[in-house]
Symmetry: C2
Subunit: 345 residues, 2 copies
């Protein structure tokens, strides 16, 4: 019989609330014969304040025993900026080699966008997740003095770029429009830019049915608000991907519905699924958070584990729910309940 | 008697067309007693193809003799990406220490925006222009092999950050709303992020009447499309500034109206003014380019040289022209003519 052994990290702020709803829907959608085992982990600001720990070696070993990880959100104003991001979230992405950071953007019927005229938005960003300026490779000298010099090094390898570019081409090929856009800044970041562009062009030859395009990241932000329909699959580096996926979320329904997967395609380490939004401490504990992004992240998780039909059931339920969402605000658990009913029905 | 000794670089594509209109309006707005001398330089793709030169030492010496530089646009598909950008545009910004890259965004009445509900947009981005990942400090090893490693180094100095942050605070203080937002990614780029954040907080103490805010660059892109009215002055690094100012241009009327100044505040070297748009080879030579951005760049140029009243005359003329712009497309020179008449009138 089948089973899913899931690590659950509620995290901080609204993380707990949205993860609860994610699990509710997961339980509702899974067939009877699939045994779901979950283990909760207490990473985040509270544990850091109590113990100074963000993620120990023992934690990493424990997480490795799971098929996948569901993460709520990490971050709290009580912890200095960067401590949990680098010490927990990025540490996991790097240790578990989550090199495909998958972020779909789809403007569903009935969903509000800040853009005029309800454009057609349906694309996926494949963001590299283990290189670029995210490596922590930097430093500072004469720190705190008027002579301080601080550096950040973007590290890009042929190995790292090729595997994510290849993944993106395969995803583009599997979609009806079969179009892949490379987003970089190869006119300024010429070393990294040449590497990305050359590998992109090389791999393109193996996917002759995929239409390719290139945009500088600055121009890409323009098209994301003026012609979002031009995008199908985008592949880009870690930092550019971070920036454009927040913008993509904003134009396609907001971060309340933006899901993401930190994927290790080989399955060597568990992949991690999380809403794009943060811990939103300002609204935490009030039942105001929209759990849709966490629930859609559960769909990505199911797809990754091979439960395609169940993933689609969740996505269809979300589409139907959003289309019928009235103006009366619902609580976090009301939305979770509604979606659990839909996926079960 | 007063005089302006102007270096004019039409550049590539639509550069020539829009610069011609910029000069037309400049001539029309200047008082009789100001003697305008212009010298045209042929930098860009054509010269590069003919001679292999982008900007020689002699060119730099010649440019230095001027009070300011008006640039159209540089870039052509016939030249490999990066050659003219690094060899001309960025070279000049660095050599002439253009550390304040000024990019105002104002949504004028009657101007179309991709955003719903015609939001109030009136902010200025002060983008650092001489540091960050733009320094060209990077390299690659095992280039072209499966073992290539390519790096890009973001270099940030206390000297460089403090002067641009101070400039931004002064600009914020001079505006009615007196609000300055630092945009960075200090939770990931922690070395550069700490430097920027610490200096920002230190300088803030000297400007107690300026309200301060901080946003990660990814979140900033969200607010630029959902709440652009929250911005007054933004200060940010070279790369983040590049990205968010294209987005800012897109939401506030498009790159047809986005002006910029590459400013050396001390006046040690000439400052350079240019539209944010590129050379747009696809529409070059057809009289289709909107010269408004180049003309607004002339306004920034005049303000920089102390001709405040003339700068305002151009800006008012552009506002009036845009408010009355009908649906009938006008040619590049028709728009220039209309603005020249307005500023003279
Ligand atoms: C919290 C932060 C480290 C993270 C990132 O920059 O990757 C977040 O913005 C994201 O997009 O997942
Ligand atoms: C052409 C390019 C080098 C330049 C930049 O990145 O600064 C442009 O995008 C700009 O914003 O002026």
């Amino acid at each position: 019989s089948r089973s899913i052994n899931l690590a659950v990290i509620p995290g901080d702020g609204i993380g707990q609330e949205v993860v609860t709803q994610g699990l509710k829907v997961l339980n509702a959608v899974l067939p009877q014969d699939v045994k779901l085992e979950t283990k909760e982990f207490d990473f985040g600001a509270k544990r850091y304040r109590a113990t100074g720990e963000t993620l120990t070696d023992a934690d990493v070993q424990a997480l490795k025993q799971h098929d996948a990880i569901l993460l709520g959100a990490i971050g709290d104003p009580s912890v200095p900026s960067g401590v949990l991001e680098r010490g927990f979230l990025l540490k996991l992405r790097f240790l578990f080699d989550h090199h495909v950071n998958l972020r779909p953007s789809k403007l569903l019927p009935g969903v509000a966008t800040p853009l005029k005229g309800q454009p057609e938005i349906d694309f996926v960003v494949v963001r590299e997740g283990t290189e670029g300026p995210y490596t922590g490779n930097g430093g500072s000298i004469r720190t705190g003095t008027p002579h301080e010099v601080a550096t950040e090094v973007s590290v890009n390898t042929a190995f790292g770029v090729e595997r994510v570019v290849r993944d993106a081409f395969a995803r583009a090929q599997a979609r009806p429009r079969k179009k892949l856009t490379l987003v970089h800044k190869n006119n300024v970041l010429t070393y990294a830019g040449h590497l990305w562009t050359n590998i992109f062009n090389k791999v393109a030859a193996e996917f002759p049915d995929v239409t390719t395009d290139y945009l500088h990241v600055d121009a890409a932000t323009i098209f994301l608000v003026t012609q979002p329909e031009r995008f199908d699959v985008i592949v880009t580096d870690n930092l550019f991907g971070d920036i454009i996926t927040d913008l993509a979320a904003a134009v396609s329904g907001g971060i309340g519905v933006a899901a993401s997967g930190n994927i290790n395609p080989s399955g060597e380490f568990p992949s991690m699924f999380e809403p794009v939004h943060g811990s939103a401490p300002d609204i935490a504990g009030q039942g105001k958070a929209d759990p849709t992004a966490a629930i859609l992240s559960v769909a990505l998780l199911l797809r990754h584990l091979g439960y395609e039909a169940e993933a689609v059931r969740i996505e269809d339920a979300v589409s139907a729910d959003l289309a019928e969402r009235g103006d009366t605000p619902r609580t976090t658990s009301e939305i979770g309940d509604a979606l659990a009913v839909r996926v079960a029905g």
